[in-house]
Symmetry: C2
DNA sequence: TTCCGTGCAAACGCTTTGCACGCAT
DNA sequence: ATGCGTGCAAAGCGTTTGCACGGAA
């Protein structure tokens, strides 16, 4: 995604365009897997740019509000991970090597109606993580 | 579950029986919803018993190892929640009032074979959280 | 008696916040 | 020119850990 397009996306969401926000967004789209705040921080430094960790947290919080990204907490280490919400995907985590794969299938949608009927809730979203062993680790 | 049975369960898992472990287990079975460590702590105090928070964390970690309980991290507040693993259930969280309902339906099982074929992973478990608005909050 | 479990307090690490400065608008 | 975004440092807060004591086996 070009800088221009990112700028437009930000404008559409009412966000000011800054180099930090642009680069955080860029990093997340070039590394389409769940990243922790400090992973993003180090990837940022690798681009020969400096940034404050707290700025990253603030940007991530902002992106969350605008639903540009998703926050996930992998159970292992209590660290939060963030991913761009390009479409709807789920994570498949290898319990041994921690490798993460994405799954396009989403069984949940088909059942949302049933669950709404059963619970009277209005379902607006869901989070699904799958665990298992990857081919190499089996 | 009677104290005796809990004792047997602990023995089966190779755990010493202590009043703290017994009461933590008791509290979790009497409040079958995701509890944070400090919720358990306060429920413990309500029983006119005192305990250290760190003991609770150690007990929870132990129960996790033995797979007596499950750990979930609700995205809101970075706090971990714990539930007994009586059978397989999922959470339905109201985004407005934070009330939590349990859902018996689990659409995921039916798709595990498909996902295994598509990914070559051996799927061993999953975590599903649903979000929405409860009847009162809609 | 032995060793594990617990309580207490301090440490830890991720995340958040207050404040002053600088940049986008 | 104005107000929002950022950097820095410090605070916050859930969780973990070290150590000495007490209780389970």
């Amino acid at each position: 995604m070009k800088s221009n397009e990112v700028k437009q996306l930000f404008q559409k969401e009412g966000l000011r365009f800054t180099s930090q926000r642009n680069l955080v967004f860029d990093i997340m789209s070039k590394h389409p897997r769940p990243l922790t705040a400090d992973e993003i921080y180090f990837l940022y430094l690798e681009q020969d740019e400096s940034i404050s960790l707290s700025t990253i947290y603030r940007i991530l919080e902002l992106f969350l509000e605008k639903e540009i990204i998703t926050k996930t907490l992998l159970t292992d280490n209590n660290k939060a991970c963030y991913v761009l919400r390009h479409g709807h995907k789920h994570l498949l985590v290898c319990l041994n090597c921690k490798k993460i794969t994405e799954v396009k299938e989403c069984p949940v949608h088909y059942f949302e109606d049933d669950i709404q009927n059963a619970t009277q809730f209005k379902i607006t979203g869901h989070k699904l993580e799958l665990y298992g062993l990857c081919p190499e680790c089996q």
